[in-house]
């Protein structure tokens, strides 16, 4: 079997290629593997970053200038402040991807998942808070509705995080199993050669 394998390797080695053509291919391949963004996708990230910035500026201005008084003023400001942070977070992520011109699968996707979770969590608290305010000071008609919507935000966010975690842990287990299988095959090969 191993002799047969050497046969296939020698067969491949017998292939004579033109170095210039191979270099051209290697250059194109680098572009493909770097997962360079297409111009349209890059523009989409730039637009996303600008929208995120506008969102952040809007809520940033509200956080500073809004005249809220009373015992819930701090809560209100904190909420607007968190929305500002979310907007800024997205601007940084999208801006970095657009400047880099490529997506970093590990870092960027992790950052986006975290930001998404933050967004759902924030809206959950915001809606719950609004529902509670309505119950206490308003007619109370909206409190249940706001509570349900808030909960749906929480459930959606949690589902995204759980699905992501389950998928990652499945992959981790699979990776470990494959590593073991590979080691066994390699050991088997060594023993066979002896």
């Amino acid at each position: 079997m191993s002799d047969h394998k050497r046969f296939s390797d020698r067969l491949i080695a017998a292939e004579q290629v033109d170095e210039k053509r191979k270099e051209r291919y290697a250059m194109e391949l680098r572009k493909i593997l770097n997962q360079t963004l297409t111009p349209a996708r890059r523009i989409a990230y730039v637009v996303g970053a600008v929208l995120g910035l506008l969102f952040a500026v809007d809520f940033g201005v509200l956080t500073v200038t809004l005249h809220i008084t009373g015992q819930y003023a701090a809560w209100g400001r904190a909420m607007f402040g968190a929305l500002t942070a979310l907007g800024l977070g997205w601007t940084i992520i999208a801006g970095r991807i657009a400047i880099r011109g490529a997506l970093d699968r590990r870092a960027d996707l992790l950052a986006i998942t975290r930001l998404l979770w933050g967004y759902f969590l924030l809206f959950f608290f915001a809606l719950l808070f609004a529902g509670w305010l309505d119950l206490k000071y308003g007619s109370g008609k909206w409190s249940v509705f706001l509570g349900v919507i808030g909960l749906s935000y929480l459930v959606t966010g949690a589902l995204i995080v759980i699905r992501n975690s389950v998928h990652q842990s499945e992959l981790r287990v699979r990776e470990k199993l494959l590593e073991i299988q590979l080691r066994l095959v390699e050991m088997d090969g060594k023993m066979e050669r002896r």
């Binding site: 017998a14 593997l33 699979r174």
Partner: protein, 184 residues
């Protein structure tokens, strides 16, 4: 054994890529480009077309890798995609040559046994270019040893019995070319 190892390495790299390790894709490409280039080159017989077909195969991989949830089928997927890309480039010529093998006889062949040794590799490489494309293709896949007879049948969309008989006649044709070269 080596085919199984290659398969496990490919599965492992695919899983690592799905876990966010972008360098796993580079490694996967490095691992397969030699074999796929050799295979594609036997189909198109033109280096520019072969590099282009290979490049298009990697583009298809990058675009489709997110949907590749069944790592064991990755090797077959790679060969199938490379074949399609090569066919796109050489469709008309290749179709003509394929037709010439229609109605081929079925012969009993011992599976997985090759009478060629590594010392013959260079002569075999030269002789492969002198046999018909369908014979060359099935023999190349057999020599590269990455796919089983059933997988080769799936790839070529023919029954496994036909793969075996085609292999048998391909070996005969190759042997004839080698003997002719030796005699001259």
């Amino acid at each position: 054994m080596d085919a199984e190892k290659d398969r496990l390495i490919s599965e492992l790299l695919l899983v690592r890529y799905h876990r966010g390790d972008a360098s796993a894709l580079d490694e996967l490409v490095r691992h397969w480009e030699g074999k796929l280039f050799y295979y594609v080159m036997r189909l198109v017989s033109n280096e520019d077309d072969a590099w282009d077909a290979l490049q298009e195969t990697w583009m298809a991989l990058v675009r489709g890798i997110g949907k590749l949830r069944e790592p064991p089928s990755l090797v077959l997927w790679l060969f199938r995609t490379a074949r399609h890309k090569a066919m796109d480039r050489m469709r008309a010529r290749y179709d003509d040559r394929t037709v010439s093998l229609e109605g081929e006889e079925v012969a009993a062949v011992e599976e997985g046994v090759s009478e060629f040794t590594s010392e013959d590799a260079e002569q075999v490489h030269g002789a492969l270019g002198k046999i018909s494309v369908p014979h060359r293709e099935v023999l190349t896949l057999f020599f590269l040893e990455d796919l089983s007879i059933q997988e080769i049948a799936d790839l070529l969309a023919i029954p496994s019995g036909t793969v075996k008989s085609r292999l048998h006649f391909a070996k005969q044709a190759l042997r004839a070319v080698l003997e002719e070269e030796e005699a001259s």
